[in-house]
């Protein structure tokens, strides 16, 4: 696989989205998207994050994906259920990766800043728009499987 863009941008903001090799197997130190997830499903997490403005104060977007049993899908290879999409530079496509449920010192991208991401307010917003329920919100806040 090479880095490539999703054929259409997001519905709300017309953001372009890049599938990166770094988070699809090329860099074993980086968080990896689950191979069970299709590219359409990965893009849908981003599209919905944009649609519902699931952002923090840095304007990063965050998303989840529900499953058929009322739970959340694992988005990453290490049971991550939340994905982060760092804000892209003007005119550049966005990209994303699954966020560790608990902070690991060797996860450099997520260790930036003095707070773990996503912030509580992001989960509050996910609850408000109906992407998660209050039980799932509390479990995600704790780093638990939801």
């Amino acid at each position: 696989m090479q880095d490539h863009e999703h054929p259409v941008p997001t519905t709300r903001s017309q953001y372009r989205y890049l599938f990166t090799t770094k988070h699809h197997g090329a860099d074993p130190r980086a968080a990896q998207w689950s191979t069970d997830l299709t590219e359409e499903e990965e893009f849908s997490v981003f599209d919905r994050a944009d649609e519902h403005e699931l952002s923090d104060e840095r304007q990063w977007l965050y998303g989840v994906l529900g499953d058929a049993e009322g739970g959340l899908r694992d988005l990453g290879t290490w049971y991550q259920q939340v994905a982060a999409f760092p804000v892209a530079n003007e005119g550049r496509p966005w990209h994303g990766y699954p966020v560790w449920a608990v902070l690991s010192p060797d996860a450099p991208e997520e260790a930036r800043g003095d707070k773990f991401r996503p912030a509580r307010q992001v989960f509050d917003r996910m609850l408000a728009v109906g992407l998660i329920n209050s039980r799932q919100r509390k479990r995600l806040l704790k780093g638990d499987d939801a």
Partner: protein, 363 residues
């Protein structure tokens, strides 16, 4: 802090104004309870939920508390962001923070806190008054890395401690723990598709390596000795709804907590220990529909179930008597007979070398 409490025959409800509970368990005073909040505070109460002191902030990052463990003069509080160690008595320096999040923490008899720290491995810290012992990580190289999600400690009948862990799709892992060493061996047992989300002692408080493990799909696996059994008893109860979160054992009963409720399987642990589960048999089951977030036993007397708004404190003695006698009087409780399918999955057992590495403290 105002507290709201209501009760029925089996349980009472505890709720605090301005303190959003996300974890509940026991505190190391007689019958004392401990509550962790979404914003990283800890509250100790008596058995009725009346505060013994004001809530104390123990998470340096202000994150939601997901586990608490106690040593004689220390408490450890874990969150998704960090591991906090706090000395209980005043005096010398008594606070430290480890720079990794964790899912769970236990205290060992040897005086260590041991955290299940996800893909990082196990993180061990032995607090002392000067915090002179560096914490360390027990893990393995990337190709053998496991995801440490839950942890308990067991006392072996022959002496010594065993740390037993739920390591998700890598199964159950057990490690004989003799304090700080350079090398360890992790005994693992797994089965394709079995996603282990919790483990519990089948004989809590006794010198026993009997253990129950819970799959995310509700599958239950029982070991009479987690270091020896390579073909554990495996079963799945039909019509048991929800995503499985916790398994707990008390007085011979099994408590199973899923996203859809609390399910009490009468005398199931007792039957497993007696070797009486080789064929499908009906098990008395109490069903309490609710939406639990987490649950823990406290003092062998109560089960504390946290949901999105409150804590329900169940009297495990009354539940045990009720399920045995067929008498249940509580709102919303259903008593059923549940049939378990006995399964024979393929198990793979491995011994995986682990190395220890130092971990720096923060602050």
């Amino acid at each position: 802090m105002n507290k709201f409490q209501a009760s029925d025959d089996l349980s009472s409800v505890i709720r605090f104004d301005g303190f959003e509970v996300c974890w509940a368990g026991s505190a190391p005073r007689e019958n004392a309870l401990c509550f962790g909040s979404e914003d990283g505070r800890l509250l100790l109460t008596n058995e009725s939920g009346e505060g013994l002191s004001s809530p104390t902030t123990l998470s340096r990052s202000g994150e939601a508390i997901n586990a608490v463990a106690w040593l004689p003069d220390w408490v450890s509080v874990t969150t998704r962001h960090e591991v906090n160690l706090q000395k209980l008595s005043t005096g010398k320096r008594g606070q430290a923070t480890l720079p990794n999040g964790a899912h769970a923490v236990v205290a060992t008899e040897a005086g260590y806190f041991v955290c299940a720290a996800g893909r990082l491995g196990l993180v061990l810290a032995r607090p002392d008054p000067d915090l002179s012992h560096s914490p360390f990580i027990v893990g393995s190289p990337e190709e053998n890395a496991r995801y440490f999600y839950r942890i308990i400690n067991l006392r072996a009948p022959a002496g010594g401690e065993v740390l037993a862990c739920a390591t998700r799709k890598d199964g159950i892992a057990a490690l004989e723990f003799r304090g700080e060493q350079e090398n360890y061996s992790l005994d693992t047992i797994s089965s394709p598709g079995f996603d282990v989300v919790d483990v519990c002692a089948l004989e809590p408080g006794l010198d026993s390596l009997a253990l129950a493990a819970l799959g995310r799909d509700g599958m239950l696996v029982f070991f009479r000795d987690v270091l020896v059994d390579k073909h554990p008893v495996t079963m799945k109860f039909k019509n048991l709804p929800g995503i499985a979160y916790r398994v707990l054992s008390c007085r011979g009963d099994i408590y199973l907590v899923t996203s859809k409720g609390l399910f009490v399987l009468g005398k199931l642990a007792e039957r497993v220990l007696q070797g009486d589960v080789s064929r499908p048999t009906m098990t008395p089951m109490l069903t309490l529909p609710m939406e639990p977030v987490d649950a823990n036993l406290a003092h062998d007397r109560w089960l504390l179930v946290v949901d999105s708004e409150q804590v329900r404190k169940f009297d495990v003695g009354r539940i045990h008597e009720s399920i045995a006698a067929g008498l249940v009087q509580a709102n919303g409780v259903q008593k059923l007979e549940a049939l378990a399918e006995i399964l024979s999955p393929t198990w793979e057992a491995r011994a995986i070398p682990q190395r220890s590495n130092q971990l720096a403290l923060v602050g």
